[in-house]
């Protein structure tokens, strides 16, 4: 038998189907959430069942998480991203103490003790320090987001981005470009501004190792590097960081029946 974890995020919807006996991922899928989160969830589930070659009735239990978790008709329970990310990350790195998850709309830092969350922090209401922030800035500079990491690595200098708010940061960047400042330096500054925000959140719960980073932004090596530099540690990244929450949900679904 199998369980299913579904993570309906603001940007993308993730599904993981997990074998109950072997704890192996039978299939996973990531699709854009779009404007209809319920539809996206149904579509993602269908696709992942197809991919795994499974039928509906082979799924014993489903747990939904993410901001759209309440809206999923086929889920047996909804559990917050905090518990799901923690559970997912622990399954990958057993001794984990801290999980950093930078998602599209919000970011969080979860502190673990004996594999269980004991404290967590989520970013304040503004989008600074999230994937959305990077996206908006990339658009403002007319640069592809994928280019951020290579630019970060090859650029030595950076410009301090002073605004802590996405809207103001955008106009600040426009003004920096207007002053003829090198775009690469601005990008490096942007990446540091995210890393600084996350660093202070980690400081609030208290830094402890090992640390794992999940969520879409973990794929951005620039952010990871800046964060490692700030914290002075090495950060573990799952092979597919985006599905950590869905994976955790699938694990938590195992406890349901």
């Amino acid at each position: 038998m199998y369980t299913c974890g579904i993570d309906v995020g603001s940007v993308s919807t993730k599904v993981v189907i997990l074998g109950k006996k072997d704890n192996k991922i039978a299939s996973y899928i990531i699709i854009p959430t779009g404007s209809d989160s319920k539809n996206a969830a149904i579509k993602a589930l269908d696709n992942s069942l197809k991919k795994a070659g499974l039928a509906d009735n082979e799924i014993e239990a489903t747990v939904a998480t993410g901001y759209g978790r309440i809206n999923i008709p086929f889920a047996d329970q909804n559990i917050t991203e905090i518990s799901c990310h923690a559970r997912g990350a622990i399954s990958l790195f057993p001794d984990l103490k801290i999980v950093i998850d930078i998602g599209g709309q919000d970011s969080k830092v979860i502190k673990l003790k004996d594999g269980k969350p004991i404290d967590f922090l989520m970013n304040d209401k503004c989008a600074a320090g999230t994937g959305r922030f990077l996206e908006v800035m990339a658009r403002a500079m007319e640069i592809n987001l994928e280019q951020f990491a290579p630019i970060f690595i090859k650029t030595n200098d950076k410009v301090n981005i002073t605004s802590t708010c996405t809207v103001f940061a955008e106009s600040e960047i426009v003004s920096l470009i207007g002053q003829g400042i090198d775009k690469n330096k601005i990008i490096k500054g942007l990446i540091y501004s995210i890393a600084d925000k996350i660093t202070s959140m980690v400081g609030r719960v208290g830094l402890d190792e090992p640390v794992c980073m999940a969520g879409g932004v973990a794929k951005n090596l620039g952010v990871v590097k800046a964060l490692e530099e700030n914290l002075g540690i090495k950060i573990n990244i799952p092979d597919e960081p985006q599905i950590t929450g869905a994976l955790g949900a699938a694990y938590l679904a195992q406890n349901l029946h």
Binding site: D124, N160, T162, S163, T164, S171, E172, S175, L176, G178, Q179, D196, T199, S200, M201, V202, G203, R204, N230
Partner: protein, 385 residues
């Protein structure tokens, strides 16, 4: 034209000389001075008592990038406190002790945080009343007495009345010289840049007072001599520019001063805790030998910080300043999240409207300066005048 270029050349050399601050000030703390340092934050802290106790008073400027400190305070919290906390956490100031005041909510929580998480540096909070008047002066004198005992305990040495008196004379002299320097630089914006002015102000708060006063005296003398020789040669660029007054709190952004120095801005007066609110008003030494009382009187009656209760009096102080110094425009700069400062603006704005003085309102972060946006606003404001 040829003659002109020669005199400009001359002027540039002189300007460079005058604005080369490090050449005049041995600066901070000479290595031969073995006195330990006691840190302070707020201009209601009587440095006199720190000096009398055998310590060097240094104001914490906290020019630090925020990394650790962010996790102790909320996002929307005084940036000066955060950067000072970063500085204390890093141990960079090498302090024997730190003296806080209950100047505002932020400072009270800053003291609590230092008290809790900074184990090696003893910290003390000086209780400063919000009211003026006889009862408040008595109360404040008693608070200063408690602070005196804290300082005595730092090195186990009693502070004598004579030591307090000598310290008062020394700090009075520092204040007198700073005021003189301030008057000269308002008169000679052509020679003394805004950057230099505030650099000297900063040095006055982080140097051994004896050395600093000597240096400042020499520096002033030099400027006066140059002035006497070159007055006729000066290009009166600033003659027709309007006099500006800056009103703000702990505004010590070097890049800001640098930016303003390039903008042909005539700083005719200020109301800042790193300038006039620091050096105005002396301790009146007379027959009275109750030095704590005299000290309390000076500190409570100096130009007020916005944290004091009588905001009407504050507005009167500003109005007098505007009239006396022919101010034509006010730049209001507040560090973000400074409640007492921000609450002062609605009424100040109303007052300035009555006086017909235009005002530019700026909120800035600390150590984190966005020149492009600010420059446009200041420039537009100056053009408007």
């Amino acid at each position: 034209m040829i003659q002109d270029s020669k005199s400009t050349d001359n002027l540039d050399t002189i300007k460079n000389k005058i604005n080369n601050i490090p050449a005049f000030f041995k600066n901070t703390l000479s290595s031969t001075d073995k006195r330990p340092l006691v840190g302070w934050f707020c201009t209601y802290t009587p440095e006199e008592l720190i000096v009398a106790g055998g310590f060097i008073p240094v104001r914490i400027f906290g020019r630090k990038k925020l990394i650790k400190s962010e996790s102790y305070f909320p996002i929307n919290f005084c940036p000066y406190i955060k950067s000072s906390w970063e500085s204390l956490l890093s141990g960079a100031d090498n302090l024997k002790a730190a003296i806080f005041t209950n100047s505002c909510d932020g400072m009270r929580r800053f003291f609590d945080t230092a008290n809790k998480y900074l184990k090696d540096t003893p910290s003390y909070l000086l209780d400063v009343p919000h009211l003026r008047g006889a009862g408040s002066i008595d109360f404040f004198a008693n608070s200063i007495g408690n602070m005196k005992r804290f300082i005595e305990n730092l090195n186990g040495k009693k502070i004598s009345n004579k030591e307090i008196k000598n310290a008062i004379i020394l700090i009075n002299n520092k204040r007198r010289l700073l005021k003189k320097y301030s008057q000269i630089s308002t008169k000679l914006p052509e020679l003394i840049s805004i950057f230099s002015y505030f650099k000297v102000m900063e040095l006055s708060m982080i140097s051994a007072p004896e050395i600093f006063t000597d240096d400042l005296e020499r520096y002033i003398k030099f400027i006066m001599e140059v002035d006497a020789e070159n007055m006729t040669n000066l290009q009166p660029n600033y003659k027709n520019t309007p006099g500006i007054m800056i009103i703000g709190n702990f505004i010590t952004e070097e890049k800001l001063w640098g930016m303003l120095s390039t903008m042909n801005l005539k700083l005719a007066s200020d109301d800042l805790c790193i300038s006039s609110r620091y050096f105005e008003k002396q301790i009146e030494l007379g027959d009275d030998s109750d030095f704590l009382n005299l000290t309390a009187e000076r500190y409570l009656n100096k130009p007020q910080c916005m944290r004091m209760a009588d905001h009407g009096l504050k507005l009167k102080e500003i109005e007098n300043n505007i009239i006396k110094n022919n101010i034509e425009g006010v730049i209001f700069i507040s560090l973000k999240f400074c409640d007492t400062m921000l609450y002062s603006f609605p009424l100040l704005k109303q007052k300035l409207n009555e006086l017909g003085i235009p005002a530019l309102y700026l909120e800035i972060e600390y150590n984190n300066f966005s020149e492009g946006q600010l420059k446009t606003r200041v420039q537009a404001f100056l053009e408007m005048l």
